[in-house]
């Protein structure tokens, strides 16, 4: 089957702010209304509504898609919330694409919202619960760990200079100075400022990180059948791709995001892009951390592995460079209300490819761009390729039938496309809602009618066959693994199924208690962002003789002496103190030390 061609025809967003006065519903409405206004459509013209928003633990509402639905314009309409963690903001654009491409809907309203400020005492605390419930959460990991671990691995593998990475944060915060919605635009920031900022979890420093934010973004998608009635300048979705890697993230080499490559290849194939470095004119890769933008540019096949930092240093990624990257200012500059920030990238390409980005406009006449987001445990890639020309290879009629009855359409959509496109409305620039009203910390604390709740969410997870057995092994001072005879791998943490072969694994085996440090961090903050007296040394440790590895902490070593490749061994708690827990291993220490 082939589907309908799909165009972006409108976009709008709120300001991104640290603490919004509005409710999440109100933020969603402000962005959605701005997007509809930008192309002079009404809610009655919308056939389906798509929502992307990240964990419920941010806004603090169970089933928050249901809660936000009215603000998204979903009343009386087909509405679905999709969810791929941090990748949700670009993914919801993909959701909008397949909703329209399916031939079932002509106009889809695509909304992304996040209200992270609700989460107390610090939104980072919600991230504790993204880690494995049994094997990782007892270590009290901070979200920064995984970024620091990945960044260190990346820097180590290619011998990268932190300055070249910091240059990304500088570029994006400077770009954001031109964005009317930006939270952290700063025209005069320098690499020295980034390098001098507080070290949170080495090598991650405060200015390497995008800020906690509230905000919403919306775009309007239309089928080829109606796009020409809405605008003479549709921006076409030429290709989409998404990909999810294994949850066993400590089994992967974090040096390269294969899932982004897979997603990009899927999107490029659909878009007919065979030489992305020539055919992509502007990029909006996901930049929650500065190194991530570089990592993702490599995954997007826009630079060789390990070579994006050079491009950063040489100005290739600047707005006037050969490959403008995050001309919006990205998450580092505009802000990071998770899903909204992802959809902002699609909105930015819409404005850039129409030549409407104002002070942010990249030079020349860009004809094709790529937006990308990332999420989960270094796992998800979501990619959308957009361009000024409709895609080849797709289009034409999807299966007959299945189309929803048009709702209360405005006259413009009911009539044929005008002969003179100049008679169509001009998109208002900038299509920025009045919304995203910032509150100070004090204003947030004293807001009239504000309430606080602590959710009563308690669990007793069944650890199942694999992890129950593994925990018993730990209690007896052994590390147990499962073997798969088909791919001949030895799996730690163990699972009863092989994810690569999709078959049951074959047998238990006792494995070594020694391993190698794949990557590590020196972390100065607790899981909920309280300063630590003594830094912690989280590390990914490859267990010798296996194809796996695990997350744990290093001990009996000075932070200055830790290095990637260090040989380590498990140090167990005394037998009587073990409870069948990952904490039965007290820590890993350098092998052979007294």
């Amino acid at each position: 089957m082939t589907g309908k061609r799909v165009a972006v025809v409108g976009a709008g967003m709120t300001r991104f702010v640290r603490r919004a006065q509005e409710t999440g519903k109100e933020l969603a409405w402000e962005a959605a209304r701005a997007a509809l206004d930008s192309c002079e459509l009404t809610l009655g013209d919308v056939d389906a509504v798509c929502l992307g928003t990240a964990p419920d633990a941010f806004d603090g509402v169970h089933m928050k898609g249901e809660y936000l639905s009215d603000g998204c314009g979903a009343l009386g309409k087909p509405f679905i919330r999709t969810y791929v963690g941090g990748g949700s903001g670009v993914f919801v654009g993909i959701q909008g694409w397949y909703s329209v491409a399916s031939g079932m809907f002509d106009v889809a309203l695509v909304v992304a919202e996040e209200k992270m400020s609700s989460c107390q005492p610090h939104p980072q605390g919600a991230f504790l619960t993204i880690f494995d419930n049994v094997l990782e959460r007892p270590l009290e990991p901070n979200l920064l760990w995984i970024f620091a671990l990945e960044m260190n691995r990346y820097m180590h593998a290619y011998g990268l200079d932190k300055r070249d990475i910091a240059a990304v944060a500088v570029k994006n915060k400077r770009n954001a100075a031109d964005h009317p919605a930006a939270l952290l635009g700063q025209a005069d920031i320098t690499v020295e400022d980034v390098l001098a900022s507080e070290t949170l979890a080495w090598p991650v420093q405060r200015l390497d990180v995008s800020p906690i934010s509230d905000g919403a973004v919306a775009v309007v998608l239309a089928s080829e059948d109606v796009a020409a009635k809405i605008t003479d300048q549709p921006v076409w979705i030429q290709g989409v791709g998404w990909n999810l890697d294994t949850a066993y993230w400590t089994n992967r080499d974090l040096v390269y995001p294969e899932y982004v490559e897979n997603a990009a290849r899927m999107a490029y194939a659909m878009a007919g892009v065979t030489e992305p470095r020539k055919q992509i004119h502007v990029a909006e890769p996901y930049d929650p951390f500065d190194y991530k933008e570089l990592h993702h540019l490599e995954g997007l096949q826009l630079f060789d592995r390990g070579k994006a930092p050079e491009a950063s240093r040489d100005g290739v990624l600047n707005r006037d460079g050969d490959l403008p990257s995050c001309p919006s200012g990205g998450l580092l500059g505009v802000g990071n209300p998770i899903a909204a920030a992802g959809l902002m990238k699609i909105a930015e390409l819409f404005w850039q490819l129409r030549g409407e980005a104002g002070a942010r406009q990249v030079p020349g006449t860009p004809e094709r761009g790529v937006a990308q987001a990332w999420g989960d445990l270094m796992q998800v890639g979501t990619v959308v390729v957009m361009g000024t020309e409709p895609p080849d290879g797709v289009g034409g009629a999807p299966p007959r039938g299945g189309r929803s009855a048009p709702s209360a359409r405005s006259a413009r959509l009911r009539a044929p496309a005008p002969a003179d496109p100049a008679s169509l409305p001009v998109i208002q620039t900038p299509p920025l809602a009045a919304g995203g009203r910032p509150l100070s910390e004090a204003g947030f604390r004293s807001a009239v009618g504000a309430v606080e709740h602590a959710v009563d969410a308690r669990y007793a997870w069944d650890t199942g066959v694999a992890i129950s057995t593994y925990l018993r092994g730990l209690q007896s001072g052994r590390i147990l693994a499962r073997e798969c005879d088909e791919c001949e791998r030895v799996l730690v943490p163990p699972r009863m199924f092989c994810e690569r072969c999709f078959r049951p694994t074959d047998r238990w085996t006792d494995v070594s208690q020694t391993g190698t440090v794949q990557t590590f961090s020196i972390c100065h903050v607790s899981w909920d962002m309280h300063p630590l007296d003594m830094p912690e040394l989280p590390a990914v440790i490859a267990i010798d003789g296996t194809d796996g590895g695990l997350l744990h902490k290093l001990g009996r070593i000075s932070p200055d002496d830790v290095e990637v490749g260090l040989a380590v061994e498990a140090v167990w708690k005394p037998g009587a103190e073990r409870t069948g827990s990952i904490l039965d291993i007290a820590y890993f220490r350098p092998r052979g030390e007294p």
Binding site: Q21, T23, E26, G73, G125, A447, A450, M496
Partner: protein
């Protein structure tokens, strides 16, 4: 299919929770509603001209047509009981010491309902369609909360 645990003693459960709390601003419309409730003891609503629908509490936007709304309409204090239910269990299903009655009340002049307690019922059984009126906390005790409303009681006479 997978190998299973055959010794019941090996079945293991691991406890945990989601250790966060949340602070919610009531938003632009919510601030107007709660300020009016606290300071003036009135129920504030919003009228959508296009939809001919009056929301209560007031709203920033019409969920039906997306029009921007303002807090322009006072509703109540009397109203009609649209439904009610009598609770015998708490949030986790444990028995309550005293049953609690909740209702849906459409304040006079509104098209929407308020979800709240039904109080001071007296001898007469509740009936859907009966007249009720709002009971507020005394002015000095109001904190700009939905609990500034004690509940609704059957209307006198």
């Amino acid at each position: 299919m997978l190998d299973k645990l055959t010794d019941p003693a090996l079945v293991r459960r691991w406890g945990g929770e989601i250790p966060v709390r949340h602070r919610y601003t009531p938003g632009l419309a919510g601030e107007a509603f709660f300020t009016a409730l606290r300071d003036r003891g009135v129920l504030l609503g919003s009228r959508c001209e296009a939809c001919e629908y009056i929301y209560v509490p007031c709203r920033l936007f019409c969920e039906r047509c997306f029009a921007e709304l303002t807090a322009d309409t006072e509703v109540g204090p009397g109203g009609t009981l649209e439904s009610f239910a009598i609770g015998y269990v708490d949030v986790e299903g444990e028995p309550l010491d005293e049953p609690v009655t909740v209702g849906l009340v459409m304040p006079d002049g509104a098209d929407a309902v308020l979800f709240h307690f039904i109080v001071e019922q007296g001898e007469e059984p509740l009936e859907i369609g009966m007249r009720v009126e709002v009971v507020l906390r005394p002015p000095g005790e109001r904190t700009a909360s939905i609990l500034d409303i004690v509940g609704f009681q059957p209307a006198a006479g």
